[in-house]
């Protein structure tokens, strides 16, 4: 399978990418690692007429310690997020989630910004970042704006990104206390049937779910139960409250609800027993 024809523009900087987007509008798609976009293009589920290849914009691949937060460049690859010492010590749940994306070959190409912008509800990275209370720096023609993770994804593969904007950085509040991440898959390299991220943050314990709705979502009822003193097992029974899990060939909605409760209990067990 070969993608439908398109015009190729190489953009090695944010300015060059924004220039190309300004010129081509919603006909264009940014290509970073391509591990989500190219499969969609091969299946003709995405047929952009212009590809803006930003994969060589080296100034967007970095992890910086900014005190309370880590700043991670949008083109930092999953492999680098998973193995970076700053991430492993400052936001270990993110490093762990990155180590579970796809397989080694995919992690050598796929990027944190690409995963966030793709907004697949079953993806590990947006789920971990939602639990961490991350925010996303978006560059556009008028400068940059910052969007909280919980306001970024608006639906299945849909975000607040405008066609002339580019995600350039992920800001991750450090969370060095307890954490747990549970991912259920039928095969090793699959997307999560359901995944759960639990993180102890300054505001309490936050819990996010993958593939329990059209976007990654917070398990608000679990968080409320924990805040009022419930333990892991008692809080986890609320994991599917307010969710809209899909039914598909991998699992029924009912089975996903069951998985959400079981995996939340396991993630919380690990999170609450951590420091």
């Amino acid at each position: 399978m070969i993608p439908a024809p398109f015009d190729y523009v190489r953009a090695d900087s944010v300015d060059a990418a924004l220039g190309a987007l300004a010129q081509h509008g919603d006909e264009a798609k940014l290509l970073a690692g391509g591990q989500s976009l190219l499969p969609l293009m091969k299946l003709r589920l995405a047929v952009p007429s212009v590809i803006v290849d930003v994969s060589r914009a080296a100034d967007l691949s970095y992890v910086r310690d900014e005190g309370e937060v880590l700043a991670i460049g949008a083109l930092t690859r999953h492999h680098d997020v998973a193995t970076n010492q700053l991430v492993r010590s400052g936001a270990p749940v993110l490093a762990h989630a990155a180590s579970l994306v796809g397989d080694p070959q995919i992690r050598h190409r796929g990027t944190i910004g690409g995963s966030v912008a793709h907004a697949d509800p079953s993806a590990d990275i947006p789920t971990a970042l939602l639990a961490l209370g991350a925010s996303y720096v978006v560059a556009g023609p008028g400068g940059t704006r910052t969007v909280a993770a919980h306001e970024f994804a608006t639906g299945f593969l849909e975000t607040t990104l405008e066609p002339n904007e580019m995600l350039v950085e992920v800001k991750v509040p450090k969370a060095t206390g307890g954490w747990g991440y549970e991912k259920f898959t039928r095969r090793a390299i699959d997307w999560a049937t359901v995944a759960v991220a639990a993180v102890r943050t300054t505001g309490g314990v936050s819990v996010a779910l993958a593939n329990m709705g059209p976007t990654a979502i917070r398990a608000a009822a679990v968080e409320r139960a924990l805040a009022s003193g419930a333990g892991a097992a008692d809080a986890a029974v609320y994991a599917d409250e307010g969710t809209e899990p899909p039914s598909d060939v991998t699992a029924s909605a009912e089975y996903r609800r069951h998985l959400a409760r079981v995996l939340t209990a396991r993630a919380l067990d690990r999170c609450l027993s951590g420091s």
């Binding site: 993608p3 439908a4 090793a188």
Partner: protein, 159 residues
Amino acid sequence: MKISLTVNGQQETADVEARTLLVHLLRDSLGLTATNVGCDTTSCGACTVLVDGESVKSCTMLAASADGRDVTTLEGLTPGGIDADPSTWHPVQRAFREQHGLQCGFCTPGMVMAAASLLKENPAPTAEEVRSGLEGNLCRCTGYHNIVAAVLQASKEKS
């Protein structure tokens, strides 16, 4: 569009359509047919090659994105080629031969390249780490046992 890249140590230039995938550049333009196309959906790993020394699935990378990069296919892993004496082969290739790490052989080029990349990142893996490190490569003969044994042997040779 014109692209220029290093493949197995040689400078290559090619005139490709923008939508050309790296695997088709390697197989169809450069005649390097060790790299197989299996699933074509980023799952099976038969098309694994090294780009700048790291494993990638060449069915899921544009040839254009490889412009200026250094690509290694199975043909380039052993400089003298596999017609040379096995003692000169890359340790992973030699170990696959000695441990009989293949049955039909279709997944083998990708397995060898993925294993070479794995050992570069983790020179002394456990059997479990070899299994998870090769999670991106499928062997439909299900010959995993000897593949894992081969990678472990290669790791002992290298270290």
